[in-house]
Symmetry: C2
Subunit: 477 residues, 2 copies
Amino acid sequence: MPDLSSAGLEPFRALLGEGGLVTDADSLTRYTHDQRALMRGQTPGVLRPRSTGEVQEIVRLAGRLGFGLVPQGGNTGYVGGATPEPGRGQLVVSLERMNRVRDVDATGFTLACDAGTILADAQAAAEARGCLLPLSLGAEGSCRLGGNVGTNAGGLQVLRYGMTRDLVLGLEVVLPDGSLLSDMRTLRKNNIGYDLKQLFIGAEGTLGIVTGVVLKLWPAQTRRATAWMQLAADAPIPEIAALVRRETADLASTFELISASSLALVAEMRGAELGLAAGPGGAVLLELSASSERIPLDDILLGTLEALMEAGHVEDAVLAQSERQRREMWTIRETIPEAEKHAGGSVKLDIAVPTSAVSRFLDRARALVEAEAPGTRLSFYGHVGDGNIHFNLMVPAGSDRLAYTAAVDAGIAHAVYAVAIDLGGSFSAEYGIGRFKRGLLARYGDPARLALIEAVKRAVDPQGLMNAGAMTGSSGA
Amino acid sequence: MPDLSSAGLEPFRALLGEGGLVTDADSLTRYTHDQRALMRGQTPGVLRPRSTGEVQEIVRLAGRLGFGLVPQGGNTGYVGGATPEPGRGQLVVSLERMNRVRDVDATGFTLACDAGTILADAQAAAEARGCLLPLSLGAEGSCRLGGNVGTNAGGLQVLRYGMTRDLVLGLEVVLPDGSLLSDMRTLRKNNIGYDLKQLFIGAEGTLGIVTGVVLKLWPAQTRRATAWMQLAADAPIPEIAALVRRETADLASTFELISASSLALVAEMRGAELGLAAGPGGAVLLELSASSERIPLDDILLGTLEALMEAGHVEDAVLAQSERQRREMWTIRETIPEAEKHAGGSVKLDIAVPTSAVSRFLDRARALVEAEAPGTRLSFYGHVGDGNIHFNLMVPAGSDRLAYTAAVDAGIAHAVYAVAIDLGGSFSAEYGIGRFKRGLLARYGDPARLALIEAVKRAVDPQGLMNAGAMTGSSGA
């Protein structure tokens, strides 16, 4: 164990100056508690570098002095991946002061920035040049791009634009030995040996510290058409999504399921009826977008809705007639997590199944919960256009949230995961592993895969310096 | 060195049966000579497994007996990546008998197949179910998907659909210790630790043998609109490409530059005038496609062409009025490599630059060749919509092709690469490294990157069993 005293941290203070090292207990809280307050972490100090060079120095110092490091962006993750573990003496490396958009190329459609850039700031920088950065998620006002890269963030437009991995053209990464892997090129094609940057995307900071990111942009979407669809009973969600892809020529950027139960939670929180309702099969928020006036988006959406109604899949639909009405549709969708919190909290199961298995999963998982935990209130919704369902169990009134979470995680969650896995699915679509799902990775990962994860970790971070305790089994520094 | 005699190969014959082991000199040629006849390889035998289990057995046997292995698909690569090296006693593992399309999911838009499936067969299987597999390249009638994965193949529709990496959802890989990494899931989202399959995409068979592939599909494109554009003098290609992306709402699937000199080669081969001409700035083959009748593709294309003409970038344009006319445009584009061969061959430089730097690259590189090797005939063309330029130097009449290739590779090629790299580009956009470009990788790769490539290679293939001599420096078995 390294020297955790003020004297032990002195070399970092000397390196980073005042403001570069945070050690007072009050200020530490926002770095040591995870987003959902499921874990109280502990750290002797938070390091706040201002440059890639300082990050390299930090890594070298930590290696020499025996400090483990936990990289952190906006600290908005759901799995404790950026939370320093009590008893390990890990230092947090916060990228929050490295937040410069380095370049926007509006002809080549690329954006380069520091890893500490807040996602919304990067979106705004792209927009200012007539471009779209399509990565979009609830936390976009506070999450940082390095964290998005480290967790391979998904979000609301994966259907059309892919996960963060699909958006990354270049990375700059400080490796565990302090050397710099600098690949900030804006190239769409570059076959020059192993594409090493892929290693760091979704690695949750266990292989190095991402300090810079180059992302693909698209032409700004100047037109939108948005609908709220009420699904018929037993409406087959995969077939609806497939028909939408086909009929809209893949101009659909969002296809979000909202269950009647999730909708009810939003109404409860507001204390008022909503202007929008679910059908017997739930509701879908569908949005098309395009960069050109030449695309008759409203006609395309209308025609698609007619086809869905003719097929009997959709009972009724509301088309957003104004930006205000569109905003209200989106607000309802985006308010669900807050509404769950307002009702006492939920245990969030972040399920992925093959897109074509979404309805089968929902049928089986709901029946399972009904049978094994009758009376459980569910809230399910999410990015079903790409097979991702947030399948959440509401904490019963009067129950302790943490105790209920532990009980679900130890019990019925596994039965739900088993259904997903039986359908070719996964227990983590977009949240990742972090510290909360390591047990699940060990339980559901196949041995060849787990062995290779450990081999890669050892090869890149032989000292176990980087984010020990997250994802991999290396106990490390 | 292992026992290369017939007796030494007996264990493989016993495992694979007759037809599973090829050793006669005549039959070996098509496995040991690379596509462009630049290298005559050598092997004691070609192994032709019929199942993933047999591949596992081959790898275990080879490890025990000390044979190196060279995985091979359709043997259509341009950099000798699948060519067994003389003097190494490497066995070729041909996947050609593992060519089954395992599954097409027309609702979830995925296709699963053996790695030995010929690309065109996979395309046809998708089409039969109303889907599109967008990977498309000149060799599609003979290249195999395992090779496409191993080389991260690019091709004609990268602009809209990305490289092979962007299409891969799942892989099955036999690792160098004979264990199986089986990840044939069809999930769009699956954040469960390092995305290990990324390691094998573009690894050129140096980390394992890919035996199965899951690819993304799209709805079949039932409508197309195609134009041949004659560019004005000094027409800025990046701005044209950006305008096309914007005005067509990214429905452009192809944006191919064809230089006047490449066009002249095609005319020479045919011995006849072509019906299509280049403008002073060359020609661009532009194609839009859509899966829906609701998209007015012809109007969109016309409007886009009008905007380009108004801006002064395009002098004239021909719209394909029939499938026959469209086919002729495509045939001209696709015939260029053959026309180069017919004229005596070319030295192919596979340049990538940021999309926004394409015109700057062409101006500088052409001036450079004119200054340093006056009289050199150039043929340049390619996927400039994603910054990839095939910049080829024609072998002068009367010169020996191999000697001229060696002279260019040792001389002026580096000056051209220097221009590309100065613009943030690369010496290999889509061909890869293989055996021909190892020197370039060593010369232009930065040290942290090269060290990490070697560390990954050692971690996954400590014995150096897999495709030694390709890409990495490990000398191996």
